[in-house]
């Protein structure tokens, strides 16, 4: 397997700010997960076509273009960790987050 697991790159993609301790722990976890997945390579698959879906010959169902009411906005916003004027508020991915007082 690829031993050069770039934990910093993965953290950047996931927009996670990891402490050195977390980095060590996550690296260990990820390596264990990946080596578990590696065991799949032991299965002989020569001559077997890739099968992305288990239901061969079945296709997706579609629906007509008819609107239906969705969720109540107050209920939706109540689940948001933070909001402003009924908009979800998150730390901006563009710049360093200024902590909310």
């Amino acid at each position: 397997m690829n031993r050069k697991l770039d934990i910093d790159h993965i953290a950047r993609l996931a927009k996670l700010d990891l402490s050195p301790e977390e980095r060590v722990r996550l690296r260990r976890d990820l390596e264990r997960i990946l080596s578990y997945v590696e065991t799949l390579k032991e299965v002989p698959v020569e001559g077997v076509d890739p099968l992305p879906y288990p239901h061969e010959g079945h296709f997706q169902r579609m629906r007509p273009d008819t609107p239906r009411p969705g969720l109540n906005r107050n209920d939706v916003i109540r689940l948001a960790p933070d909001e402003l004027f009924f908009l979800f508020r998150t730390p901006s991915p563009l710049r360093g987050l200024k902590k909310k007082p």
């Binding site: 239901h55 997706q60 579609m62 969705g70 004027f85 730390p91």
Partner: protein, 477 residues
Amino acid sequence: MKSLNGYEVVIGLEIHVEVDTQTKLFCSCSREYGRDPNTQVCPVCLGYPGALPVLNEEVVIQGLKVARALRSRINEVSQFFRKNYFYPDLPKGYQITQYTFSLAEDGHLEYQFEGSQRRVRVERINIEEEAAKSFHTEDGYTLLDFNRSGIPLLEIVTRPDLRSPAEARTFLAKLRQLIRYLEVSPCDMEKGHLRADANLSVHRPGEPLGTKVEIKNLNSFKALEDALTYEAQRQIQVLEAGGKVVQETRLFDESTGQTVAMRTKEEEMDYRYFPEPDLLPLNVTAYLNRFELPELPWEKSARFVREYGLREDVAEVLTQERALADYFEEMVRDLKDIAQAANWLVNRVLADIKERSLEEFPIRPSQMAELLSLVESGRITLNLAKDVYERMLQEGRSARDIVESEGLEVVSTEEELQKFVAEAVEENPELVAKFRKGKEGVIGPLIGAVMKKTRGKADPKRVRELLLKALRGGSGA
């Protein structure tokens, strides 16, 4: 465009079109524009765990229309993929899109550009979902409206067949025209219905293609052309200074007119594309006969030339918009002089229509036809028709009503005209003397004098004839 210093510019576009449906791509939420934030949302478009997508068949039909109009090969079976990345506007952590096995591949669009016939190949057409609308605040937050999350998009990817920023603009305009004809989307760029990203590289003809740079955020025709013009010059300068163009993504800043490098963290492999396990393969066979293509812009334009004998450029203008072409055809149904009617529409009326839009334009085709038939029958002059038209526009009255109630009809009796001509000759002895000495230019003011007496209701050509007869024919009328 400034000097290219012998370089050739190579451009490909990736265009996103919001499909004009009632509901979103994978859920039954309304996708109406301009509603209060987060009022058109459900577990699917909010990305709640366990919520499952169900494809809107109307998007498939609209996508097939575009595919066929672009002469693409439709894949009867295609597939959805997950494109994984973290961003606040993407609550699931992935976008459902198509990757390999697109809805359609290998199409093309042909058009005229700078006097030559061009063909741009369309590599693929994908169905995918829109992200939420985000607003970045100055204090470092992002505000999100999920009404836009999950709106259906068609992604149209061209091959690098465009050779200048101006051509890219023309291509986008042609594509927009086509999509509007198909009624797949209104393509209002201010509302974000149509957006483009571009890839641009420069190289010397005969040499291998240069390194391409992706430019994002091209949301108007002007932005597209300006950004590509700037970027081509930038790359040429880098190469001329002995440097190398770096493969990167740049963002166009409309306020400065420059492209700036974007700090992107993802490379293609970081998106970890894989088949969307929540959606079985898409089979469109049953939908291939569920739509008909309308007459396409280039077909309509050719027919206008053939059927009405219009000049090509006039036909082109009249078929810019389907609604305008329909207006024209309804207007000329009972008219004899179709070329005159076409010129009238292009030169007199089009600017007024564009100012408000055809739906809000108050004069119906039959009313316009009535005005032009008054010209055709000689009851009013073309000049007077212009005034009548202005009053129709302002007062909402019919042409006949304005002409009849105000006695604007051409003075038709020869007798009356003869009388005015004789009067004008008598009242302007100096002009008459000059004319007889060979200064024939003074015929202009004499025509003016007669027209004034008729209050503009005579045909100036006829007045001129009568005046010449009177002046050359001896002492008087």
